[in-house]
Amino acid sequence: MKLYEYAGKEIFSRYGISVPKGSTASSIEEAGKIAGAMGKSVIKAQVLAGGRGKTGGVLFSNNEEEARQAASRILGLTIKGLSVKKVLIEEFKETHAQIYLGITIDRLVRCPVIIASIAGGIDIEETAVNSPEKIIRINIDPLTGLHDYQARKLAISLKINDTKKIIDVIKKLYRIFVDNDCILAEINPLAQTDDGIYALDAKMVIDDNALFRHNYRDEDPDPLSEMAKKNGMSYVGLDGDIGCIVNGAGLAMATLDMIKQRGGESANFMDVRAGANEEQIKTALRIVSSNKKVKGIVVNIFGGLTKCDDVARGIIDILPDMKVPLVVRFAGTNEELGHSMLEKYGVTLAGSTEEAAKAVIRLVNPH
């Protein structure tokens, strides 16, 4: 789960990392009042996507009027498909140096990795590619945690004064990373200013698998993904017109790949997981078909403990409600029984994932 910048900054603040004074607003009116009381301020779109600066989601203001204008512009934006509903208004900070500081998981070494660079800011990824010597990485043993000598090495490598304060921020960010089951905790930029070291941005992503032991609340859930999650399934919306229902993430990706290779575009990724039984498949079909862009649906089930005839029963039950054609491919346990049950209902049957992909594309693009 991704946290909004302002939520991340609340956590930073609780752990003693300095952030600029600020608060959020959902209306132009409110934004104007907050910024008016501040003098020079920065108004930032609160949206769960990167690259806000480059898309006009971060503006500056000197007074209430400018703030209202900025807020009105930002609150109307859609950034990477997400509409902006809230802005964060903060005191403007003059910076001397902008540091990049991030902690994530090194999957290969199977441990947290802290990354720091004096070349903080929006171009950090380019720096990583073009000037790798400006990026320092330290792997942390998850059992012993961050050692002082490691925090010191990172801080010294940045070659600015304030080493002690930077060490302090590194140690606190690592605490935040561990305490909150983060898969990402990032400050970019961590700014050196006249009155100290400030986190000017906050990016935190929490491990979904660990949400059960925390109190985070998804403030902006996608309704279809939520419904899928509640039913033990996984749904991600895409831009195409072919709905997909598959059991298993790998097989689902393989199915989407096959559709793409044959010239089709999928409307979603959906893994029904272990829930490929009668009731679940009905729920899955309801979710996928509620997307108005969907012109046809492919169901691809590999039966193990899942029995294909159970799935067929679910499909038959919901078929009267379906407005778009269905292609079904069963394999594994009772695949033949499942296929034969569906024959009389006008559902297109496929013998392989590849055939299923071809069939659904034909149905969706009849020309």
Binding site: P112, V129, V205, N209, G250, M253, A331, E354
Partner: protein, 289 residues
């Protein structure tokens, strides 16, 4: 021969009386796996399908001497079950459970460095050695004994490919699902090293997917293997992740997408299949040589 498991595998099932644990124990017994015991705290002393149930792994080890364990414990308790198995000296631990927090897994992997246990998974379908033993949840009826090794991060996609091989009368030495989570025990590289040493494995199918660089890390070894490896990588149609933050990008350095993986394997001259059928074609070409 097979790798990791064989007719001498004496299996313990952790969480044997749970829904999935009992269902899958039945399936494994049907397959012919030698399930010597199970655990469920508080149910020690009972039996399920004739298999004795113990309160703890330690008691099971003392009584029935398992050399492998498979875990069906819910995610909130699964990492504790892994630690329990390691501390009891179980050498092969297969964790089926999906949804274990990644921080727990990092701690487990760090702890395992000072032990001799080997972990497969979590969030994996386990291991099948046709005709010998099955430890995990792969469907029973899709396998055929033979000489192809399979190692995969997926579940049903793996079954689909095993099934396809079997239908084409291409048998498998061992099929391993290493799991789809970001932090897992056995890697592609570990599995390939075992297949390389296994005299009954003639060629290996590697089924990879987007995320991480585990596939790329295996390339160096594959290039020096005496046995051919055919790679099939899915996720080419996955949208670029809206991931916030740069740390992940810095760590992966542009690798980790399906496209970059396919590119890397191609550059290394490793045969790639674009779909399951191409795997069959490639294997047949190899077997004919």
């Amino acid at each position: 021969m097979s790798i990791l498991i064989n007719e001498n595998t004496r299996l313990l099932v952790q969480g044997i009386t749970g829904n999935e644990g009992s269902l899958q124990t039945k399936e494994m017994l049907d397959f012919g796996t030698n399930v010597v015991g199970g655990t469920t705290p508080g149910k020690g002393g009972s039996r399920i399908f004739g298999v004795p149930v113990f309160d703890s792994v330690e008691e099971a080890v003392d009584s029935v001497h398992p050399n492998g364990s498979v875990i069906f414990v819910p995610p909130g308790h699964a990492s504790d079950a892994i630690f329990e198995a390691i501390d009891a000296g179980i050498q092969l631990i297969v964790c089926i459970t999906e949804g274990i927090p990644v921080h727990d897994m990092m701690r487990i992997c760090a702890y395992m460095k000072s032990t001799s246990s080997r972990l497969i998974g979590p969030n994996c379908p386990g291991i099948t050695s046709p005709g010998r033993s099955k430890v995990g949840i792969m469907p029973n009826n899709i396998h055929l004994p033979g000489n192809i090794g399979i190692v995969s991060r997926s579940g049903t996609l793996t079954y689909e490919i095993i099934d396809l091989l079997t239908k084409n009368r291409i048998g498998q030495s061992t099929s391993i699902g290493i799991g789809g989570d970001p932090v897992i025990g056995m890697t592609f590289l570990d599995a390939l090293e075992l297949f390389e040493k296994d005299k009954d494995t003639q060629a290996v199918v590697l089924i990879g997917e987007i995320g991480g660089t585990a596939e790329e890390e295996a390339i160096g070894f594959i290039k020096h293997m005496s046995k051919p490896v055919i790679a099939y990588i899915v996720g080419i149609s996955a949208p670029p992740d809206r991931t916030m933050g740069h740390a992940g990008a810095i760590v992966s350095m542009g690798r980790g997408t399906a496209r970059s993986k396919i590119q890397a394997f191609g550059d290394a001259g490793i045969p790639l299949a674009r779909n399951p059928n191409e795997i069959i074609i490639q294997i047949n070409t190899i077997l004919k040589k």
